[in-house]
């Protein structure tokens, strides 16, 4: 409880110490902080980037259309932006590309049906590997005791 209160107080102090851009500009007589040219443009660009990161470049497998410099990827990215501007939701945009290229176009396939293998297999293998390593280590640590016990029993007495 005490640590929680302390955290809240510290948080409030940090917020109070960090001046807002408006106050800084007025108080220190600095030029106004440059805001994005248009908040809507910034939002559009950010949504386009987010969606473009989810779509696979068809000509350079393994890269998203956001990261690929290929002409087709840039054209697809422009189409993503155009569809957002036309009022389509993120799901609509992704569904459009899936309808043209199949689910392959999604860099992260939907977690359903056979796709679940891609999501479940790595952690399962990790757990199986950890269990295997654990059993191996256990057997390694047990072996010397068995050897020393048997060698102790069979060893000839030292004079």
């Amino acid at each position: 409880m005490t640590s929680r209160v302390l955290g809240v107080v510290l948080g409030a102090a940090v917020i109070a110490l960090v001046p807002t851009p408006r106050l800084t500009a007025q108080g220190a007589n600095l030029p106004p902080v440059i805001q994005p040219r248009n908040a809507a443009d910034s939002l559009l660009e950010s949504r386009t980037t987010e969606l473009a990161r989810e779509l696979r470049c068809p000509v350079c497998q393994g890269l998203s259309i956001q990261d690929s410099p290929s002409e087709l990827s840039q054209q697809m990215r422009a189409l993503v932006k155009e569809q957002i501007v036309s009022g389509k939701s993120d799901e609509d945009v992704l569904a459009y590309f899936v309808s043209k290229y199949g689910e392959w176009i999604l860099l992260a396939p939907e977690a359903r049906g056979f796709n679940l293998v891609a999501y479940l297999l790595p952690p399962l293998l990790l757990v199986a590997g950890a269990v295997g390593v654990g059993m191996l280590v256990k057997s390694w640590t047990r072996q010397p005791q068995v050897v020393s016990a048997s060698s102790g029993a069979e060893a000839p007495p030292e004079d």
């Binding site: 068809p58 087709l72 054209q75 043209k100 199949g102």
Partner: protein, 197 residues
């Protein structure tokens, strides 16, 4: 040998090995297209290369899929920088010339290229029987889920994608696809007049 342990290990490895073996049977370049069987995306593309009579179209005219209803449309995406497009070009023109009396419309869509380069290429390849159209921004290419060139789509008379071929399409295969669609009554020559550009 500890048979029980070996059996457990084999049992654990079996699904992974099966999955890998299944993966080895698949060609990563062969990506399933969802388009065959579905309605073909509409297009309106401007002619930049007229083609040759009787298949010629006027440069600057717009070809639309909607106005070709009743005909089988062969939509071939190509580019002057595409080496494999050279392999199929002669075959495509030959089949197009052989099909002039049938309800078939061949269209060459220039993909991510400029008209002048396309025209030079056509001239260098001793002409093209059918018209060539431009696809600004590759919008039609994306609408057809294009991965690269050449790719050919055969659209039936009802406006559905009947077949998609990735890579150079052999003349025999294309002829077979078109003839089978005509035989199946997919094209309706009696109902359609000449294609209005």
């Amino acid at each position: 040998m500890n048979w029980r342990r070996a059996a457990w290990a084999s049992l654990a490895a079996a699904p992974v090995v099966t999955l890998l073996a299944w993966g080895m049977t698949r060609d990563p370049n062969e990506i399933h297209s969802p388009l065959p069987g579905r309605e073909a995306p509409a297009f309106a593309l401007r002619v930049f290369a007229p083609g040759e009579p009787p298949l010629a179209r006027t440069v600057g005219d717009t070809l639309t899929l909607g106005r070709m209803r009743g005909k089988i449309v062969v939509l071939n995406f190509w580019a002057s920088w595409c080496l494999e497009c050279r392999v199929e070009h002669r075959d495509l023109s030959t089949v197009a010339r052989q099909m002039t009396d049938k309800p078939v419309q061949f269209i060459g869509v220039l993909y991510n290229d400029v008209a002048s380069a396309g025209l030079d290429w056509i001239q260098g390849m001793s002409g093209q029987a059918y018209p060539g159209v431009l696809d600004p921004g590759a919008r039609t290419a994306i609408d057809y889920g294009l991965y690269g060139v050449p790719e050919t789509f055969v659209i039936d008379g009802k406006g559905r994608v009947a077949y998609k071929h990735t890579g150079a399409i052999p003349a025999e295969l294309l002829t077979l696809k078109i003839d089978s669609l005509i035989a199946a009554g997919s094209a309706a020559p009696a109902l359609t007049g000449p294609v209005v550009p």
